[in-house]
């Protein structure tokens, strides 16, 4: 049975109706309007700056989807997720650069980058699974420490010292415009990056959302709620935990590939430990255990940090530079405030609002 609260008088007569993504006419209209805004209205009216902020939000969502899956759905706390994003970015960059050089036909057909995205997802997924192995033996605080190790081993050691030096000088690989093509589509401008982001984010959300409605999703939730009980009920805990790490890593791989299309460059500096913390913050503020939470958290935190400086500059024009630390401070402050006052995050608040509207006027 669906867990969605429906407006009074709405009944389902079969499973298809009960499991539909969009269950009422109002939801259909709402979603069509949302898609129209995302695909037509926003890109039409937005300038390069707004699009680049949207791209940052999209990148954050792509990265945080995996964190949400691990923490929110499977109950496996991770503090090293950006390492898998880095693996994805480097796999995609190396493959694209090398194959573009070796087989220009693939480059001309615009197939190198799409193949590199799939490869990046695969490699990052497997790498993530490797660091998920300790989850078979440890959990909670100890698992946090092992996932942190993923960050230091992957980014600070393997990527910095070895992978980033493969065949190219320095530590930063340059992927100038024209290198990344998606079929006939050359990813060059903010608008092209925006549409690529939109497609990846929608696919990512649909994938995770659907996965949670399957046997796998239910197994993850069972493990999250009580792993011993799940095992007693016949769930292969280790297998499903590793699967969660694989899927989360694969999503991170997609995010890393997308980062290349936006940055035109990749260097280990972009994948610091702070970024992993940031992703956990996004999930905490947005709401644990909800895809909406991932989206809201990414929008809220990105806009918050993006607008702090212009707002400070507007209020205190002469002091704006001297108060630049506020931008970093506000991230920590936001987490504390949310954990104290709204521990279930923004998604829960939206759910309450929707419930209120659906049940009105008989909300009791």
């Amino acid at each position: 049975m669906s867990t969605m609260r429906l407006p009074s008088g709405t009944y389902h007569e079969n499973y298809t109706q009960d499991h539909a993504w969009w269950q009422t006419r109002f939801v259909w209209i709402r979603m069509i309007a949302l898609f129209a805004i995302l695909f037509i209205v926003f890109p039409y009216f937005a300038g390069g700056y707004e699009l680049s902020v949207a791209n940052r939000i999209g990148y954050t969502i792509l990265c945080a989807l995996g964190v949400q899956l691990l923490i929110g759905f499977a109950g496996q706390v991770t503090l090293g997720h950006i390492a898998f994003v880095a693996i994805g970015a480097y796999t995609s960059a190396l493959f694209t650069l090398r194959v573009n050089e070796a087989t220009p036909i693939l480059k001309d057909l615009g197939l190198t980058y799409p193949i590199s995205v799939i490869l990046a997802m695969l490699v990052a997924g497997l790498w993530s699974m490797l660091f998920g192995l300790p989850s078979a033996r440890v959990k909670g605080f100890y698992l946090i420490m092992t996932t942190m190790a993923a960050q230091f081993i992957t980014v600070d050691f393997i990527i910095t010292h070895y992978i980033s030096r493969v065949g190219y000088r320095g530590v930063s690989f340059s992927l100038p415009p024209g290198t990344i093509r998606f079929g006939p589509w050359d990813i060059r401008t903010d608008l092209e990056q925006y549409f690529l982001m939109l497609i990846l984010v929608i696919l990512g959300i649909l994938f995770v959302g659907n996965l949670m409605r399957t046997r796998i999703g239910r197994a993850w939730i069972a493990i999250r709620d009580n792993d011993i009980a799940a095992e007693v009920l016949g769930v292969n805990v280790v297998r499903y935990k590793l699967l969660a790490f694989f899927v989360a890593g694969a999503l991170a791989g997609a995010a890393g590939s997308y980062a290349n299309a936006v940055s035109f460059t990749v260097s280990p500096e972009q994948f610091g430990f702070g970024e992993s913390l940031w992703l956990v913050g996004v999930v905490l503020i947005g709401g644990i255990g909800s895809n909406y939470g991932t989206v809201f958290g990414a929008i809220f935190l990105t806009l918050l940090t993006e607008m702090v400086q212009p707002t400070l500059k507007f209020i205190l024009p002469d002091l704006a530079l001297k108060t630049s630390y506020v931008k970093d401070m506000i991230f920590g402050l936001a987490i504390i405030v949310f954990l104290l006052l709204e521990p279930k995050g923004l998604a829960y608040r939206l759910q309450r609002l929707k419930d209120y509207v659906h049940l009105w006027p008989f909300s009791y």
């Binding site: 300038g47 390069g48 707004e50 060059r188 972009q270 630390y325």
Partner: protein, 428 residues
């Protein structure tokens, strides 16, 4: 609960306000390809600075320098009577933030040029600024930004990191290794060289390839690089690892705080090597932080140190006192002077472009490429840009700390000294 409702309402208002502010930011429409001047009498310029990130130990002073130079320019004729409106933002040394701020500059603030900061973000932005034809005068002096065939809109008023590093090593080889009595018995062998820097940082690693090339050219034996974080508070393990190699000279490629830590640890653990420091690690704070360990340390200074008795310095100091009176003078650094150098050359290029009626990206770039042996004082060697080479100078000043003071050891003219190699060295 009442406070929950209040909190929810506040959050909602904040999200809405931020969304509206963000959506209203760009004014709509497609992104312009070239940034026009904002209004008559005012020219918008962006400044991207690191005030809170890994290089903020040197970035804050640079940001103050930019601010003061622009204020001074505005009070002293501006750009043919037009004033500069400066949009200055901190990006915390994070590349994604630099990218969105740059786009804010381009589409919302409508700047005609940008004064940038780090190597990682400048390199990452390079394809975009080329596409937008946006002059980008950076505090990053990375060699990879000097080839106009690849990075036509990247400019800076200093010798590039690679040339500077080559010069520093050569100066040590000629002035110390060849002449110092300490090495008299070893001169028949090869001098041993090792590098300390953050490998993951594009700034720190930018000159390493050129540096090792030069070391090979001079016949050095090169040891394994030691990875030292820009934010390092302890480098003992790296010093101990380096000690096995018994280096004669160590290159420090990070910023001041990290270099000071390495120098102190090297002294404490009796590494027994000489030290060469890249330009953002060699400032007035180094002898203060490293104390005795900084004695004898050689380094690169692309401009005069703050307060030095040199042409135009009195204006820099007077402006610092006037516009930032609450910042103590003894905390001001050479990075202020570097900021002035970049801002003054940008001013010159904008003035020429404006006179020619081409105050846009292409016009400013063309004006830069007209500058020949341009002298701004401040200890910056004469600057020349051309349409085929954006290495503004091949002259590098190498200093040595003696008694806590910086003394000029040697001025190397790398372009003249290595005339046949000079054309090959462009772009890395």
């Amino acid at each position: 609960m009442n406070y929950r409702k209040v909190f929810f309402a506040l959050t909602l208002v904040m999200v809405l306000a931020l969304t509206v502010a963000c959506a209203g930011g760009g004014g709509g429409g497609a992104a312009p390809t070239a940034a026009p001047a904002a209004s008559k009498g005012e020219i918008n310029v962006g400044s991207l600075n690191d005030l809170t990130g890994a290089t903020s130990d040197v970035g804050k002073d640079y940001a103050l320098g930019v601010q003061e130079a622009v204020k001074w320019i505005n009070e002293n004729g501006g750009i043919n009577g037009k004033t500069i409106k400066l949009f200055q933002y901190d990006y915390g040394y994070r590349v994604p933030e630099a990218q969105t701020i740059y786009k804010r500059f381009r589409d919302f603030d409508k700047v005609v040029a940008v004064l940038g900061w780090g190597t990682g973000d400048t390199s990452a932005l390079s394809p975009t600024i080329n596409q937008d034809k946006m002059p980008y005068v950076s505090a990053s002096y990375a060699g990879e930004l000097t080839d106009p065939a690849k990075t036509p809109y990247n400019l800076f008023a200093a010798p590039d990191y690679s040339t500077s590093a080559r010069a520093a090593l050569t100066a040590w080889y000629e002035e110390v290794w060849k002449k110092d009595a300490r090495f008299a018995s070893e001169q028949s062998g090869k001098p041993r060289f090792i590098a300390f820097y953050q490998k993951s940082s594009p700034y720190s690693s930018a000159p390493i390839k050129a540096l090792k090339e030069q070391a090979t050219l001079l016949g050095f034996e090169i040891g394994a690089d030691q990875d030292v974080a820009l934010t390092a508070l302890d480098t003992k393990s790296q010093v101990l690892a380096a000690k096995d190699f018994k280096p004669h000279v160590v290159w420090h490629g990070n910023t001041t705080n990290s270099v000071a830590t390495a120098l102190k640890d090297a002294k404490a653990l009796a590494l027994g090597a000489d030290h060469l420091v890249n330009t953002y690690g060699y400032d007035e704070n180094l002898p203060k932080l490293a104390g005795d360990a900084a004695e004898g340390v050689m380094g690169i200074a692309v401009a005069a140190f703050y307060g030095e008795n040199i042409k135009f310095m009195d204006t820099v100091v007077a402006s610092a006192k006037k516009y930032n009176p609450n910042t103590p003078q003894d905390t001001r650094l050479i990075h202020t002077v570097k900021a002035w150098a970049n801002t003054l050359v940008l001013r010159e290029a904008m003035t020429r472009a404006d006179k020619a009626g081409k105050l846009n990206g292409e016009g400013i770039r063309a004006a830069f490429e007209e500058l020949k042996d341009f002298d701004i004082g401040l200890g910056v060697t004469p600057l020349t840009w051309s349409s085929s080479d954006h290495r503004a100078t091949g002259q590098v000043r190498i200093y040595q700390i003696k008694g806590g003071k910086f003394n000029l050891l040697k001025q190397m003219d790398m372009k003249a000294k290595y005339a046949s190699d000079w054309p090959k060295w462009i772009g890395y």
